[in-house]
């Protein structure tokens, strides 16, 4: 059984005691591969090779195309600066008023450098891994992308004051999100992560009013194309879990603030929960302390659909031995023939 078959079995509920391992790696993957975050974010070959190297070394169970929030934002017209050892910087707000939103042109994702780069990454993974390892694509969720285009504070206040304007922006983001997901699936992605980080900062009724149906639409769209859907929202989303339980996502990333036991009760048994050790602890703790925490977590979640991970991105300064410790704990749950 290869990693892809193993992943499929996890999702279908046929793996009962195996805990897979897939932390979110971006800057760490670049550093591990002796390159920079700037290069990883701007060159699909560097991204794919860095992640593949991490996959091999840490025995990760999937690989991903995640890099930064500004692929689609760039396609919409934002100027992006790549920082060697930092998250790419968005240099301008594409939407400053309602006219900008109305005039915003839907980009052709195949003709924009940064979206095309990620699509090429999906194809490159297939070339290197030959379909044996599940590959995760990535799109920005509608609210996160709207915030990238209009500014976080501005967009969050728009939600309170101007539903038409807010919906106009998010509707345009949805068109690109759907197309971008499709392009990555066409190039072999097995699942698509929907990153809507900012949603933890809005209340449940605002999520229901603006975002929930859009998330459902994306999940259904991804399913209709034959792939699985993962939802990633940074921070504490306990207040959103009842709404999220109806989205039919296959995998949900839960950050360290979320109580997994409570989350499982709300989300049901069918969804794969991925999480959720505090990345700061993964970075700062001794490997003995980390081992103890991870063992406790695995014990709690074993027998459920579960992927061991940090709550969010692994910090660049995380000791290799700490990440290896998590890998070892996952490996011990796997059948010997893997």
């Amino acid at each position: 059984m290869n990693k892809k078959q193993q992943f499929e079995k996890l999702l279908s509920g046929e793996l009962h005691s195996t805990v897979l391992f897939k932390p979110i790696l971006m800057h760490f993957a670049a550093r591990f591969n002796k390159t920079t975050y700037g290069k990883l974010a701007s060159d699909y070959k560097v991204l794919v090779e860095s992640n593949t190297r991490c996959m091999e070394y840490f025995d990760l169970d999937t690989v991903s195309l995640i890099s930064d929030p500004y692929r689609e934002t760039s396609a919409f017209g934002a100027r992006i600066e790549f920082i060697p050892e930092g998250v790419p910087k968005c240099l301008n707000k594409v939407i400053q008023n309602e006219e900008d939103a109305k005039n915003l042109v839907i980009p052709d994702i195949y003709n924009c450098e940064r979206t095309r780069d990620r699509i090429s990454g999906a194809a490159y993974y297939q070339k290197l891994l030959k379909g044996t390892v599940p590959v995760g694509g990535w799109i920005e969720g509608p609210l996160a992308e709207a915030c990238d285009l209009a500014g976080v504070s501005e967009m969050l206040m728009n939600l309170m004051c101007d539903p038409d304007y807010s919906n106009l922006i998010m509707d345009k983001c949805m068109i690109v999100a759907r197309e971008f997901a499709k392009a990555q699936i066409n190039e072999g992605c097995d699942y698509i992560g929907i990153g809507d980080a900012i949603c933890s900062q809005i209340d449940a009724s605002t999520y229901d009013f603006y975002v929930k149906d859009r998330h459902k639409e994306l999940v259904d769209h991804i399913h209709s194309l034959g792939a699985k859907a993962k939802l990633h929202i940074c921070g504490n989303i306990e207040h959103l879990l009842p709404a999220i339980s109806s989205l039919n996502v296959d995998i949900i990333d839960l950050d360290w603030q979320v109580d997994l036991h409570e989350a499982r009760k709300i989300l049901g048994d069918n969804v794969v929960i991925k999480g959720n050790i505090n990345p700061v602890i993964i970075q700062e703790a001794t490997s003995q302390h980390l081992e103890s925490l991870a063992k406790e977590l695995v014990q709690q979640m074993q027998g459920q659909k579960f992927i061991l991970s940090g709550g969010c991105e692994i910090g660049v300064n995380t000791p290799i031995t700490n990440l290896m410790k998590l890998a070892e704990i996952s490996t011990k749950t796997k059948p010997i023939n893997l």
């Binding site: 800057h27 921070g235 969010c312």
Partner: protein
């Protein structure tokens, strides 16, 4: 208490900026913080009373609800916007010295980090609590914090970081500021931080939320 002052507190707490603003829906069409502050001044209510009995209690109320998870960032932003709209009318009284600030608070997101939402919330809440706020923005270098502190030597400093990858940068900023200004109090905050980390890098206080910053500053 004066009815206008009471209404003003409600407007700040619920983010009612002015009569045109559709938020909150339950107050649609009513006058907001903008009109009420103007009216209060016209009726001869002292600016200090407007600030201390009207505006600050409103910000405190919404800040407390935010700490308790009863309201979220958009509601806080609306309250802060209502507050800043009201403060525009009080600006001449701050300049003349008739209304005094509690002190000066210098805030910025640490270098390498471009996130501003947490820093903005703290800045707005602290300003709403009666402090003068000097917001240095995002990606702020240690030297910029230091230069600003030298210009306003009695200030308190707040440093924000959202990422595990950038929180490590706080240590060098704290070290540089403490070397030159050992008595300056430094607050740190942001999603990946905790008290242990704050202690480790030599900061004076870890702010879990904006209201925590206000409580700390008010006790200085």
């Amino acid at each position: 208490m004066n009815e206008i002052i009471e209404k003003l507190t409600t407007c700040i707490e619920f983010g009612k900026i002015n009569q045109k603003s559709p938020f909150p829906p339950s107050m649609r069409g009513e006058v907001g913080a903008d009109e009420l502050t103007k009216q209060a001044l016209e009726e001869g209510i002292k600016p200090t009373e407007i600030l201390e009995q009207g505006l600050i209690p409103g910000m405190n109320a919404v800040g407390l609800k935010f700490s308790q998870g009863k309201v979220f960032v958009p509601e806080m932003l609306m309250a802060a916007k209502a507050m800043s709209t009201a403060l525009v009318h009080l600006k001449p009284y701050f300049q003349s010295g008739e209304v005094k600030r509690k002190g000066t608070f210098i805030i910025g997101t640490v270098f390498g980090d471009l996130h501003d939402i947490g820093k903005n919330l703290v800045a707005m809440t602290v300003e709403g609590a009666g402090w003068e706020v000097i917001d240095l923005g995002v990606d702020v270098k240690a030297e910029t914090f230091l230069d600003t502190l030298e210009k306003y030597p009695d200030s308190t400093v707040g440093i924000s970081a959202l990422l595990t990858t950038t929180m490590a940068n706080m240590e060098s900023v704290v070290k540089m500021l403490k070397e030159k200004h050992p008595s300056t109090k430094i607050l740190v905050g942001g999603a990946p931080l905790n008290t242990e980390f704050s202690n480790k890098i030599g900061a004076d206080f870890y702010c879990r939320d904006p209201q925590g910053a206000v409580a700390y500053l008010n006790n200085l």
